[in-house]
């Protein structure tokens, strides 16, 4: 969209209209976006046809990459691997093939680091959790993902991007919890159990899954950032997200991994009155009070 000579857009409005959505990009486009231009090389891409052996047995149409794109390339000139989940295929659920692609991406990056090659990893997460159609193999492969993520992060930060619209739930929320840094948009959600499942298990008084503002209020990007569960809150802007990833890698290892903050979280839990429910604001307040 260009401005005519007699009517110029204010710079901030022009920038808004120039902005490219990251959320609207599919997994392959996201991986391409996060890597330096011209460096994208996909592993086990569609034409390798390594698909789910389990879905066709149940009459479910497979996807040629099983919903996970793994691409090697460079980020900020440094060797990198990007794993991007396709949230629109089976809800981004983790099956045998896509889970193994993710685990191996971390494993091969770790092996590079052990040889002195500083290969960094970014995980663009859109996932509802384990793929129930592959159940126990999904659970085993998720455990293998965690093992390799924990092994890799000792060498170099592992960055997770959660942009939406699927969000990050179930077993993959734990992967986000294991990562060195989490970047979220406002539209994204990060939560272990989805709101529908909590309503099903605990009743609508505990959680009303149809109350969208309430849901984003406790697990949306803005709240997670304010309550210390995400490191950066970004706009749905492909360039901004790409820059944010680079900035975090430049920053280096975090002072402390979130998963090692047991003293802080124990103190945080102790400070909360569990005889009642809390508002999102209270959570942020108590969290911030815990920062020494």
């Amino acid at each position: 969209m260009t401005a005519s000579a007699e009517f110029e857009l204010a710079p901030e409005v022009q920038r808004l209209s120039d902005r490219r959505s990251y959320i609207e990009l599919n997994a392959r486009a996201r991986a391409t976006q996060l890597l330096d231009p011209g460096t994208f090389h996909e592993l086990l891409g569609p034409f390798d046809r390594v698909e789910s052996p389990w879905l066709p047995l149940q009459g479910i149409v497979p996807q040629s990459d099983d919903g996970c794109v793994v691409a090697k390339g460079r980020i900020d000139g440094q060797p990198a691997v990007v794993i991007a989940m396709e949230g629109k295929f089976q809800g981004g659920s983790i099956g045998e093939v896509c889970g193994m692609k993710m685990a191996m991406a971390f494993a091969l990056a770790r092996q590079d680091n052990e040889k002195g090659i500083p290969t960094r990893a970014v995980l663009s997460l859109e996932s509802g959790g384990v793929r129930l159609q592959e159940a126990n193999i999904g659970e085993l492969v998720i455990a293998e993902i965690y093992a390799e993520l924990v092994a890799l992060r000792k060498h170099i930060p592992v960055i997770v991007v959660i942009a939406g619209s699927t969000g990050c739930f179930g077993g993959m929320s734990l992967a986000a919890g294991l990562s060195s840094y989490v970047i979220m948009t406002r539209q994204a959600r990060l939560s272990m159990n989805g709101p529908e499942v909590i309503e099903l298990e605990a009743g609508v008084a505990e959680l009303d899954a149809s109350n969208r503002p309430f849901i984003w209020g406790y697990c949306g990007g803005a709240q997670r950032f304010a309550a210390g569960a995400a490191d950066l809150l970004v706009e749905d802007d492909a360039e901004e997200i790409t820059s944010a990833v680079k900035e975090l890698f430049r920053k280096g290892q975090p002072a402390q991994l979130r998963s090692a903050m047991y003293d802080r979280y124990i103190a945080f839990l102790s400070a909360l009155d569990t005889t009642r429910q809390w508002t999102a604001e209270e959570i942020c307040q108590v969290w911030k009070e815990g920062a020494k």
């Binding site: 599919n26 997994a27 891409g45 569609p46 034409f47 046809r49 066709p56 009459g59 479910i60 149409v61 497979p62 996807q63 040629s64 396709e86 629109k88 295929f89």
Partner: protein, 97 residues
């Protein structure tokens, strides 16, 4: 799930391979590759059964204009004929880019 196959005659010219789409609700992915012989072969895996006639109509129309010898593999999750035609078009454009 239904598996369908179709064959069409071709000019013998081979396309470059290209992939497009996502197997999401109402969408499909297409893998387009050069054929091994001088004909075009289409396989469709679709979550919606009973629409062989509709698939044939869409593909017949596509191959009226598309002459290259291609293997086209489609994974479909309930796309409309319009979406199928669009993705086929994107696949062709991508393979010629």
């Amino acid at each position: 799930m239904e598996k369908l196959s179709f064959e069409y005659s071709a000019s013998g010219k081979k396309p470059r391979r290209f992939h497009v789409g996502v197997v999401g609700s109402g969408d499909l992915e297409i893998l387009l590759e050069p054929s091994n012989d001088s004909r075009s072969h289409v396989t469709v895996q679709t979550s919606v059964t009973g629409f062989e006639g509709t698939w044939k109509a869409v593909l017949d129309r596509f191959f009226e204009r598309y002459e290259e010898a291609a293997n086209i593999e489609i994974h479909d999750s309930g796309a409309t004929p319009g979406t199928v035609a669009l993705r086929l078009q994107q696949a062709v454009e991508g393979s010629r880019a």
